[in-house]
Structure formats: structure tokens, C-alpha cells
């Protein structure tokens, strides 16, 4: 320790000369030998200890608060890691307590195949949620607020084990049952000269045979195929081609419910419009800046499809559209929505898309 006390100050004090030039000074508060370790100093040291201890106590409080049976989940944009953790486990019937915090932008939390609205996660604000599962199985949770080009990749799983009726097996997708190749091109064989109108089709007052008014029977029929079938039907003998198109539109509309379309509209706005555009033309905000997208590593061979393109859309059957939404993966960054949307929601979305082709669809 002596080595540390080696003094090297350049300013040595002057020795006091007896009777020298130093004028009379006020008596110093204390003679030589002050009060080094008196109570005052000890008190001060205690106060310093307290001041330094407060942050440590804070740290301790934080540490203890982390382990109170709540699962902490942080939400970040996919490029920064997405959900952390993204694989949870739970038991049937036991509450799963979550504390979700967004660490960058506004995110949302929801469970797939579940009609409950998502929880919005404002950045920095922890949000508590309690989930109770009635059936074992694998659940998918996902982000419900568009947070970046890879927003749809923000997904995680919850494995629920325990006793209970297992979830129903997912039905075989319609496109599989019908043997439709999702990736094959589907150009429309015939194109209308003007946008078909549902209202004009309804006004024609034609009584359509039941096979055209059954949802299941028309799942595999694209508009141009349906048009051809209607064209060949003797009931439309006196109609012009464009009128048959109107009839086609009306026929397709009559197998879809208004509520379903309303849900499809909502789902489209929340989940699809960011890439496909509110007007369906595929030139949407999130895709509009290729330089920006390329910088983020998001270069795709294929751009989001243009729903206003009649040659593609009118050759697509409802089952094809539903299948593409379900499966995704067309090389364009299209997510697979199967784990997220219920069957009804997928059909609602697929049905909604015709609004970009037919007037009066909604």
C-alpha cells in the first residue's frame, strides 16, 4: 500500500516561518489532528453506502419481479428476432400468464384460429395476458399490427399438452380435394368487354339452375369457366356475352353471405392491404420502395399479384384463391395463412377478392 501513497505533487506547501509574513489567521476550526473518523465521517460514509445501495436495491427489485410465474415475451420486428421466446408450452386448463412488451414499433398479439381480437402492444409498455387452453395441440400466435416487410414472419407456437379432446384435424383443403395445381398458370379463357356487374346480373331475372347456386359445386369453377357453362346453357340463349358476364357475377355473389364478405373486407384491410394495396393492384405502400426492400434483403422473384388483372383473376377458381391464401409461398413473400385464419375466414377473404373484378360485389 505504501507504493500507492508515493506523493508527487508539484505543489509542496511552504514551511511556516515563525514570526514570518503570515498574518494572523482566524483560528482554524480544529487544531492539528482534526476529527478524521468521528461520528460525522462515519455518518457520511453510511450515507454514501446508502446512496450506492439504492441502485443495487433497485436491481434486486427488478430481478425478483422477473420470476413471479409470468412468462416474459418481447416483441421485435422479425429482422431483430421477432418474438422472444417464440416457442411456449402450456397445460390444458392451466392459465398461461404472459407479459408482452414491444421493443421497437407497435406490435399486436393474437392466437391463430381464434376469433378473439388481438392485443395491441405499444412499444415499451408491458401488457399482461392470461391464456387458458381447453384442448391440447399446437397453437400459433402471431403479430397483428403491420410492423415491417417481414411482419408475417412474426409467429410463434404454443404446445399445449394434457387431457382433453384434441383439436379437430384440419380439413383437407378444397384445392387438394379438387386436384387443383396452385402453381399452374390460370389464364382466363374468355374476358369480358366491361366490368361485370352483380346488380345488372340480378336485374336480368334469370332463374339459375341449382347446380350454379351451390357453393360446393362452384368451388372449382373460375368465373370464365362459369361464364362458359352459363353461355352453353339454353336459359341464357337470348343474352349478350356481357350480360352473361353480369349473370356470372351475380351467380357467384349469390353463394356468398354478406357477413362473410364484411369479415373478408376487414381481414383484407388488416392483413393484406399493406402488400396488395387497398385497391388490390399489388402496388402497395409496403412494397413501394424496392431499394428499401432490397436493402432489407427482401428481394422477391415475384411481385404481389394484381387483383385487378382480369386475365389472371377470372381464370382462378374460389378454391384456387383460398388455397393460395392458405398455403402461400409463391416466391413473392406471400405468407401461409393456414395456421392463422379459420376455414371460414379463408373463404371470406377469398370471396372478398372478387370486389376487384366485379362491380357491386359488396
Amino acid at each position: 500500500m505504501t507504493a500507492l501513497r508515493r506523493a508527487s505533487s508539484r505543489f509542496a506547501p511552504q514551511r511556516e516561518h515563525p514570526g514570518g509574513g503570515t498574518p494572523a489567521a482566524h483560528p482554524a476550526g480544529n487544531p492539528v489532528g482534526g476529527v478524521p473518523k468521528g461520528t460525522a465521517e462515519l455518518g457520511a460514509r453510511a450515507a454514501v453506502g446508502l446512496a450506492l445501495g439504492v441502485p443495487l436495491i433497485l436491481l434486486l427489485i427488478w430481478w425478483l419481479g422477473r420470476s413471479d410465474g409470468v412468462q416474459l415475451i418481447r416483441a421485435r420486428v422479425a429482422e431483430s428476432g421477432g418474438w422472444g421466446p417464440d416457442a411456449l408450452t402450456a397445460q390444458v386448463g392451466e392459465p398461461l400468464k404472459l407479459r408482452l412488451t414491444s421493443e421497437d414499433v407497435v406490435h399486436g398479439f393474437a392466437i391463430g384460429h381464434n376469433r378473439q381480437p388481438g392485443i395491441e402492444l405499444p412499444p415499451g409498455e408491458p401488457v399482461d395476458a392470461v391464456l387458458i387452453f381447453e384442448r391440447p395441440g399446437r397453437y400459433v400466435f402471431y403479430c397483428t399490427r403491420w410492423c415491417g416487410p417481414n411482419h408475417w414472419r412474426m409467429r410463434g407456437t404454443i404446445e399445449v399438452t394434457g387431457d382433453g379432446p384434441s383439436a379437430e384435424a384440419a380439413p383437407i383443403p378444397a384445392y387438394v380435394a379438387l386436384g387443383i395445381d396452385l402453381d399452374a398458370p390460370h389464364p382466363a379463357a374468355v374476358l369480358p368487354s366491361r366490368r361485370p356487374s352483380v346488380d345488372r346480373g340480378a336485374a336480368l331475372g334469370i332463374d339459375l339452375p341449382t347446380r350454379y347456386r351451390s357453393r360446393d359445386a362452384t368451388l372449382g369453377l373460375g368465373p370464365s369457366d362459369l361464364w362458359q357453362a352459363l353461355r352453353d346453357d339454353p336459359a341464357t340463349r337470348d343474352l349478350a356475352d356481357s350480360q352473361v358476364w353480369d349473370l356470372t357475377a351475380w351467380a357467384m355473389r349469390s353463394v356468398v353471405s354478406g357477413e362473410s364478405l364484411a369479415e373478408g373486407e376487414r381481414l383484407y384491410a388488416e392483413n393484406c392491404a399493406a402488400c396488395h394495396g387497398r385497391d388490390g393492384a399489388g402496388e402497395a405502400a409496403a412494397q413501394r420502395e424496392p431499394a428499401h426492400a432490397a436493402a432489407e434483403g427482401e428481394t422477391h422473384a415475384v411481385e404481389p399479384v394484381d387483383f385487378t388483372d382480369a386475365s389472371k383473376m377470372l381464370g382462378a377458381s374460389p378454391a384456387l384463391l383460398q388455397g393460395k391464401i392458405l398455403r402461400g409461398g409463391m416466391g413473392s413473400g406471400m405468407p401461409y395463412w393456414g395456421p392463422i385464419f379459420t376455414e371460414d375466414q379463408l373463404w371470406a377473404l377469398a370471396s372478398y377478392l372478387w370486389t376487384f373484378q366485379f362491380e357491386g360485389w359488396l
Partner: protein
């Protein structure tokens, strides 16, 4: 020396603070499409005329953004794919900062744009006032020199 300076300053200040009422086009309805991306607005400046009924359509492109106008205290927010609209009467002239009101990343507090309601001359006025300040300062500075030299005076406790 002081009087002309004060007179000049008064005149300039008067100029600086006079409200502008000429050069106004007749008010109209305006629809402005503003795109929000971290961390800027496009267009960075929204130009309107005083008295216009302005509809701002905010379209976010990468995350949820908001838009809040200083001085007007109006706010809207938009999620990508879901643009939002707000209509208001631009009755106050001037230049107002437009700020993002939804945390959109680390630099969120610096996401700033402008709403310019013409006719306005805020910058001109401020510039004129800066020149006035300079002139006043120069006047004061020369007065200071005319006092005898400064030396800190001792003050006993």
C-alpha cells in the same frame, strides 16, 4: 446614438410583427396524401392556403405511424394498408411542425414534418427580428464601452 437605433428597431419590429393579408388565393378544399415511413413524411412539407378545408390522408408504409400537428393539436394514426383521414380548417397561418405520435422505432421523437399555411412569413419575421437583435446589441455594446474600465470590486462579507 441611441435614439436612431431605437427608432429603427421599432420600425423593424413593427414590420416583423405585422400580419400578412395580401397575396391570398381563395380558400379551397385540399386533399393531401402523406406517406409516413421511419423516420420522415413524404411530402416533408404540406403546403396549404389559409382558409382551406384540408383533408390529410396518412398512409404508413412500414409500421404504425401517427401524425400530430403542433398548434392545431390534431392527430391521426395509420397502420400499413389502412390509411387514415382527417379534415380540418386551416385557419391559422404560419409554419407548424408535424410530429409522429406513435412510437415507431428509436428515432421516433425525431420524426418531423411541416405544415405550411400560407400566407406566412414566419422565417422572414424571425430573420428581421434577428437583425433587430443584432442592431440593438451593437447599440448596447457601444454604450458599454463608454463606461469606465471594469474591475471587480472587493466585497467584504
Amino acid at each position: 446614438m441611441a435614439k436612431p437605433i431605437l427608432l429603427l428597431s421599432a420600425v423593424l419590429v413593427a414590420i416583423g410583427l405585422t400580419p400578412i393579408s395580401f397575396g391570398t388565393a381563395s380558400p379551397s378544399s385540399r386533399h393531401v396524401h402523406v406517406r409516413a415511413r421511419s423516420y420522415e413524411y413524404t411530402p416533408a412539407t404540406i403546403d396549404v392556403q389559409r382558409g382551406d378545408r384540408v383533408t390529410i390522408e396518412l398512409e404508413s408504409t412500414d409500421a404504425v405511424h401517427g401524425l400530430r400537428i403542433d398548434g392545431y393539436d390534431l392527430e391521426l394514426r395509420s397502420s400499413p394498408g389502412q390509411p387514415a383521414q382527417l379534415t380540418f380548417l386551416a385557419d391559422r397561418p404560419g409554419v407548424f411542425r408535424v410530429r409522429c405520435s406513435v412510437t415507431c422505432g428509436p428515432l421516433h421523437p425525431f420524426m418531423i414534418g411541416r405544415l405550411r399555411v400560407a400566407p406566412e412569413a414566419d422565417l422572414w419575421r424571425a430573420g428581421v427580428l434577428a437583425v433587430v437583435a443584432t442592431i440593438l446589441g451593437v447599440g448596447l455594446g457601444s454604450r458599454r464601452n463608454s463606461r469606465p474600465g471594469q474591475r471587480p470590486m472587493a466585497t467584504a462579507p
